[in-house]
Each structure stands twice: as structure tokens, then as C-alpha cells.
């Protein structure tokens, strides 16, 4: 039997994830949770078999927002807190693309916090992955909106006096149609959540607990491991009140889908309006403008 050279065969069986990897090597700190997020994302995209040229990754600023550079898809590293507006514009103009917005906790909940409820109420058809490390890592460890109370950081040397924001609780309150939580240490589990979020018809949010080993230490992995629990299989994902209870559980960090409720997407509503307008036929714009003449 003819023996094909190994390299050629390996190439054919090449890990499907590689198709999404760019030539740029990540410069995150060794041990950073974002490596797992990147690997999970590639696994999810490979699982869904979405061609790289049909994907756009839109990020803000911060360690996690470097991610689009490491992917061989379209991508844009926008300005601080603005991945949602840019992704919204892109998805509106190119609904055929798979648009994934990504941010860190500061980007998503502080600088860009005002964009989150509007993407939710519009139900834009895109996934939004927030890599939450509870700190501004890139700028050397200042407190962020999710820094736990009492935490010692570069800007809270004697402990942080504020309560942290609850990203899941906020997403549920804003009316996000798909809300989930994943952990960076579980690449496989996170990839599965990402598959579901990317396929979701509407705005899909995943809070990803992604440790910052430099500014929060390796212990952040242990804290997450100790507190993380799979969301019970009997949880009804359409029960908003139950989802709130899991999101605000004082002891455990529930991993999995918290809430999922189908509602019309922005694109579906716009299409319906376009059809309604077309059915009425051509209007008279001059007559309309005449209403405003003095």
C-alpha cells in the first residue's frame, strides 16, 4: 500500500481549530484565562464550521480585547467600551456575518456599560462574550466594576469598599434573550456554551470567569473552582425569576445557561417594517415634508 508522507496526512487531519488561528502569537501572561477563551472560541467556530471570512470579532480595549488579533477572521480592536456599537452597526449592515463582540469587565460594565442595555432591548443578532477577571489587568491592576468587596488591588491597598456589579443580574434585568456563564478553566464546557450563543437568534451574552494570574494571582482559579457549580439540569431556562436567583446566589457561581427566551431580533423587526412599508407602496415625501412648513 502506498504510504503518504506523514506531514501530508497530518495536514488533512489538521486540528480544525487551526483554521481560525492567525500568525500573531498571544502575549497574555502565562496562565492567563484568556488563552482558554481563545481555544474555546476556535473549538466552537470549528464545531459550527463557519468559514473564517464569514466571522467578525469586535473588541474594545484591554487584555481580553487583544483576542481578535489572534484570530484569522475579520476583526476590529475598537476603542474602550465600544465593541457593542461597532458590532451593532456591522450586524445591521451585514446580517449575513457571524458577529461576536467581546470585552473585559471594565470595557463591558464601566466604560461601555451604557451600551449593554440597548443591545439587549434591540436584541441584535450577535454574541457578546465578556472575559471577567475582576480587575483592569492591562493597566496594572486597578479595581474594575466587578472587583469583589474588600479586595486588595493596585488602587485599593487597604481593601475595596464597594459592592461588585453582577453581570448576569444586569443582563437578566436588561432583558437579554440568552444569558450564560462559563469558566476559562473548562475549555470544553465553555466551547459548548459558545456554540449555543453563536447560534442563538438574538443577543446572546456569556459572562466568562477568566482569571488574571498577574493581578489577582493563581488563587483566582481556586476561588472559581471552589465556587463554580453546574446549573442544575432541572432549571427551567425560561424562568426569569429562577435565573435571577442563580445569578445572585451568594455562595456559588452557576455555570451554564441561566436564561433563554426567544423574541424577535432587531433584524426580524426591521424586515417586518420594510415589508409593511413596501406593501403600502411608494409614499409622497414632498407631501410629508409639507406638514412641517410654516
Amino acid at each position: 500500500m502506498d504510504v503518504t508522507p506523514p506531514a501530508e496526512v497530518v495536514e488533512r487531519r489538521i486540528n480544525a481549530r487551526q483554521a481560525y488561528r492567525s500568525d500573531l502569537k498571544p502575549v497574555w501572561c502565562p496562565g492567563c484565562g484568556d488563552y482558554s477563551v481563545l481555544t474555546a472560541l476556535f473549538a466552537a467556530l470549528a464545531e459550527l464550521q463557519i468559514p473564517p471570512h464569514q466571522i467578525a470579532l469586535i473588541s474594545g480595549i484591554g487584555c481580553s480585547s487583544r483576542l481578535p488579533g489572534y484570530a484569522a477572521t475579520y476583526g476590529l480592536n475598537t476603542i474602550h467600551g465600544r465593541p457593542i456599537p461597532v458590532a451593532t452597526g456591522l450586524k445591521s449592515a451585514r446580517p449575513d456575518l457571524t458577529v461576536i463582540a467581546m470585552a473585559g469587565d471594565g470595557d463591558a460594565l464601566s466604560i461601555g456599560g451604557g451600551h449593554f442595555p440597548h443591545a439587549a432591548r434591540r436584541n441584535i443578532g450577535m454574541a457578546y462574550f465578556v472575559m471577567d477577571n475582576n480587575v483592569y489587568g492591562l493597566t496594572k491592576g486597578q479595581t474594575s466594576p466587578t472587583t469583589p468587596t474588600g479586595e486588595q488591588t493596585a488602587t485599593s491597598l487597604y481593601g475595596w469598599p464597594e459592592d461588585p456589579a453582577n453581570p448576569l443580574g444586569l443582563a437578566l434585568a436588561y432583558g437579554v434573550s440568552f444569558v450564560a456563564q462559563g469558566v476559562a478553566g473548562d475549555v470544553k464546557g465553555l466551547a459548548r456554551l459558545m456554540v449555543e450563543a453563536i447560534q442563538w437568534p438574538g443577543f446572546a451574552f456569556i459572562e466568562i470567569l477568566s482569571p488574571c494570574v498577574t493581578w489577582r494571582g493563581k488563587e483566582q482559579y481556586d476561588v472559581i473552582r471552589d465556587r463554580a457549580r453546574p446549573i442544575p439540569p432541572e432549571h427551567d431556562v425560561t424562568d426569569l425569576a429562577a435565573a435571577f436567583r442563580y445569578a445572585h446566589d451568594p455562595e456559588h457561581l452557576y455555570v451554564g445557561v441561566h436564561y433563554r427566551q426567544r423574541k424577535p431580533t432587531f433584524q426580524e423587526r426591521v424586515t417586518a417594517l420594510q415589508q409593511k412599508a413596501a406593501a403600502k407602496g411608494a409614499g409622497n415625501f414632498d407631501r410629508y415634508l409639507a406638514k412641517f412648513r410654516a
Binding site: K25, P26, G31, Y35, A44, Q152, L157, G159, G217
Partner: protein, 175 residues
């Protein structure tokens, strides 16, 4: 056949098993390569050099399995999918550390080899095909050899406690 969520070991054919083995080795090779990049970027050369060696080893195992697969099944399309197949023999990302010593790097590799051994040992409980059983037994036993190889390297290190360098990046202090 999809390996996306669970692997149905009872249904594995020899071709599937070889393809699975290739992907496991490739996943580990890729991860060690990422560790090399991470540690080289932070001038942690001793640990990076060891991981570079692991890249070569995992690559050798992958090529050996690939040769075997090709000689038996030629270019028949693979039925296994690597997209969700992660961290069977590859160390977890969280195990890399900016100030990693050689001993710590060896410990990470040893842990990964033990995990791979367990994977094949557990899989063997469900495998039905005698050829797959033979292959997985061989792969499981090889993991023992790999563990011994890493242990020999650990034993060569000077005795005595090492400073715990993990998580020693700048830490804020209040006083």
C-alpha cells in the same frame, strides 16, 4: 461519528481510534508549543527549553500514529472531529506560570501524562473492537513510559526545596 460531546468508545473502529490518537498527540504538541511561546516571551528559558522538548516528543508520537494510520487506511477521510477534543494529554493553560522553574515544568508534564494514562485506561473499559483494545492498551502503556521518562528528569534535579515562585508577580501591599 462526532467526538464533540462524548466519545462512543464502544463504536470506535481502528481507523477512528488511530485518528483520535493523532488528534490527542497534536493537541498536546500544540499546547506545549504555546507554553514555549509564552515562556520565551517572558524569558523563562529553562522551562521553555523543556517544553520545546515535549513539542518534539508529542510530534514524534503523532507522526508514528499517522504513519500507522496511513499504512492501514490510506487517505480514507477521518470520521473523528478535533474541534471539541481538548486537554486529554495537553496540560491546562492555567498550569503555565511566568516564573516557572524546570521542576515545575516537569511536574506539569508529569500530571498531563498521568491524565492521558487515565483517559486510555478509562476508555478501555468501554472499547469492544479487539484491534482498538490492542491499540489503546499500547497507548496506555506508553503513557507509563512517558511518566517514567519525566520522573527520571525530575530525579536528576538537585535535591532540596525550591522557592515557590508561582504567583510572585507584583502584588499590591497596603503598608
Amino acid at each position: 461519528m462526532s467526538t464533540s460531546h462524548t466519545i462512543d468508545f464502544a463504536a470506535l473502529t481502528l481507523q477512528d481510534a488511530l485518528d483520535l490518537g493523532i488528534l490527542i498527540e497534536e493537541d498536546a504538541r500544540e499546547r506545549y508549543g504555546e507554553f514555549v511561546d509564552q515562556l520565551e516571551a517572558h524569558y523563562t528559558e529553562e522551562a521553555a527549553a523543556f517544553f520545546r522538548n515535549m513539542v518534539r516528543n508529542e510530534g514524534k508520537h503523532r507522526d508514528w500514529l499517522t504513519k500507522r494510520r496511513t499504512s492501514l487506511f490510506g487517505a480514507a477521510p477521518s470520521r473523528v472531529d478535533a474541534s471539541m477534543l481538548v486537554e486529554i494529554e495537553a496540560p491546562e493553560f492555567s498550569e503555565a506560570d511566568i516564573f516557572m522553574t524546570l521542576r515545575q515544568a516537569l511536574d506539569v508534564a508529569l500530571k498531563a501524562e498521568v491524565r492521558a494514562y487515565r483517559f486510555f485506561a478509562d476508555a478501555l473499559k468501554h472499547v469492544r473492537d479487539p484491534q482498538v483494545r490492542e491499540l489503546f492498551t499500547e497507548l496506555r502503556d506508553e503513557e507509563v513510559e512517558h511518566q517514567q521518562m519525566v520522573q527520571r528528569e525530575i530525579d536528576k534535579l538537585p535535591p532540596g526545596p525550591e522557592p515557590d515562585t508561582r504567583g510572585q508577580a507584583d502584588e499590591p501591599v497596603g503598608h
